[in-house]
Assembly symmetry: C2
Homo-oligomer: 158 residues x 2
DNA sequence: ATAAATTGAATTGTGCGCAACTTAATTGCT
DNA sequence: AGCAATTAAGTTGCGCACAATTCAATTTAT
């Protein structure tokens, strides 16, 4: 969306906004999109050291806190569906970090259990958040505000 | 990175931070990543009406303001490389929205020129930013702050 | 009890992002 | 002029995201 559109909210015909509403430079969404890409790019060298991609790292974060979680619940936490998670989890299984077991009471669900290697990896991942914090070169307060706005945006949009 | 890490900056061993530094819920980057995905998801129904994806829409925004731009300069504006842009621009060419012409003075460069259909599409795209602004349900000031922080983050990280 | 509806996961297909590499054109150097 | 270095774009390959669909297991309604 375009920045500083308050005056637009008072007119029916948005397209008459002459002050460059279709200019890339004014679009909040583009900034968000580019920043998210840049963040993932910045994570890459850190995650290569433990042979994970950023989405794989997120899945491991969920597992480190919720070992044995199923695909649906992990998807709810990560805002991702089985179309993304199933192949991702298969790759992590191939790496030997987890096992994908069928639920005992319900054959449909897949429970994801960390292997010892998967549990051990947590130690090596501990330094990553602080390294990223340093790379950002932003004050904690601004990062907190950024997170709060992103969380609001996410819940408003869904 | 993890939220509220100020106290961590004063200690050498980051891994001793016991207060959940590896918890998904505290990670600014995850919020940013999820919000960016959600934004693109929210654009989709609007862009389907004009048969564009979000990255294709961004390329069209660049062209509407800079007709005849080359791939390298477009990449600089969008923070994307030729590996992403070449196939994307080929798809837009297939749709009949642009022509990819060789530079006259330098045979290496590709100049991207809008067709009449490509120029015409701008009219239909004009209402999109305001629709997205409404979907966000956030005050203009907060969106402006979000954009400012994202822009800073992007330039600090690169 | 059984047919219908729902649910959890997997599959298929498309389009990014990006690293790594290739190709061809241009520029710089001597 | 001639050759090395650089540059712009394209290609290849991998891993997401996600819509759409499929399939099997479970739940529900009758």
């Amino acid at each position: 969306m375009t920045d500083k559109q308050a005056h637009v909210t008072h007119q029916a015909d948005v397209t008459t906004n002459e002050s460059g509403e279709l200019m890339l430079e004014n679009q909040v969404c583009f900034s968000l999109y580019s920043a998210a890409n840049a963040i993932i790019r910045a994570y890459r060298p850190l995650l290569e050291a433990i042979d994970l991609t950023y989405p794989q790292y997120l899945a491991m974060l969920v597992l480190w806190a919720n070992n044995g979680i199923n695909v649906k619940d992990m998807g709810a936490k990560l805002h991702l569906d089985s179309g993304t998670l199933t192949p991702l989890l298969k790759r992590l299984e191939t790496k030997g970090l987890l096992d994908r077991k069928r639920g005992l009471t319900d054959e449909r669900v897949r429970e994801i259990w960390l292997t010892e290697a998967g549990k051990t990896l947590k130690t090596q991942a501990k330094s990553i958040p602080y390294t990223m914090f340093c790379k950002s070169e932003l004050p904690v307060e601004e990062l907190a505000a950024l997170k709060a706005t992103c969380d609001k945006l996410l819940s408003n949009i869904n």
